[in-house]
Symmetry: C2
Subunit: 195 residues, 2 copies
DNA sequence: TTGCTAAGTTGAGGCTGTCTCAATATATTT
DNA sequence: AAATATATTGAGACAGCCTCAACTTAGCAA
């Protein structure tokens, strides 16, 4: 409901807009290189502005992350919607789970923020995470209706699974993350399922 | 093989021993309160010594953690050995996995250190983690021989699973962690198994 | 064009934390 | 009671977070 405006209330001054964009661009680069705990001072430095400017645009690290991820998270929710048309409900869920995993691991350390944000309603990322969870829930429900997934699996279980395997992928190797995802999903399948 | 001496090479001076113990005790308290990223200065302060003393006893945070966990990790390895006598191989594995999870969540943030340490051979905790992994492997192998677990599951898979569900437990709730553990183990079971 | 003002930027400064090392102190040995 | 090996100390160098009073500038209106 009360999502933050992507384009702020009143139009920004030209220089402000420029700095805002520049900060986002540098943040993307630096987070990709050093993870989401990278120095904010460094980002400001590389963007050619004083740290105060960074803080005025993005009061917290979360706010910066939120701005950086907005589009990507929207895309992930959209993708879930699209996959509702996929012929196999089970396969659709697996495809989406992998996509979610890929999204969650773009920046090192991101998964922890995303996991925290679903719990913490005051988080800048909360709404976006909630949307992703709900999107996943649609796919899950369809798979359950089709009989492929156990009825007692919740959207929270799915969200937690995706995040936990993303965390593993980040800590060890993407392949290890993928393996755990496969085991986890298998464990959530209905007993009648073979394999 | 080349484990670090629990009681250092030559006997410590009395005052050194006293400070060492004091630091460990305070670290246990403070890590329990604030997680493993708690301030080392604070630990030194509460132990009534200068920070240099802390650093001289424990050159890194990992070293401190290692000293703090040594006994507990040994106990976990021992427990695996004991459980090899349990009548049900499957049940033994599950019991141990839960114990491992409990161990892994004594301090907030610990799970990340433990996961890093299995990968990083230079880590102070590496040997202890390796021992735990090997201990788990025994239980896993027995369960596989008994036909309860898929043959393609590795000790690394098991280690990763335990850590990932511990991480979830830490981020959300222990109950959520438990749920994921159940799903994960189920996914690792042989197809012939019911449920 | 010029001046006005709201909007935006600056960067020093306070804070916490990590880690080091020369000077100092003390336990133990002889 | 030295002598010596062993420990402890704490200031200091550095980095990062965040704030805010002083300053600068874009954009508008006269």
């Amino acid at each position: 409901m009360t999502t933050v405006d992507p384009a702020p209330r009143r139009r920004m001054r030209a220089d402000a807009r420029r700095n805002y964009e520049r900060l986002l661009a540098e943040a993307a680069t630096i987070f990709a290189e050093h993870g989401v705990e990278a120095s904010l001072e460094e980002i400001a430095r590389r963007a050619g502005v004083a740290n105060g400017t960074l803080y005025s645009h993005f009061p917290t690290r979360q706010a910066l992350l939120e701005a950086l991820l907005r589009d990507r998270m929207q895309a992930l929710s959209d993708k879930a919607r699209d996959l509702l048309d996929h012929p196999s409900a089970d396969e659709a869920l697996l495809i989406w789970a992998r996509a979610a995993m890929a999204h969650t691991t773009v920046y090192r350390g991101l998964v922890t923020s995303l996991m925290r944000s679903i719990e913490d309603e005051t988080s800048h990322l909360h709404a976006a995470c909630q949307a992703v969870l709900t999107a996943g829930e649609q796919l899950l429900n369809r798979a359950q209706a089709a009989g492929g997934m156990r009825a007692d699996v919740t959207a929270s279980d799915l969200y937690a699974l995706i995040n936990s395997v993303s965390w593993v992928g980040e800590q060890t190797s993407p392949a290890q993350g993928e393996r755990l995802l496969a085991f986890g999903i298998d464990g959530m399948r209905s007993a009648t399922d073979s394999r």
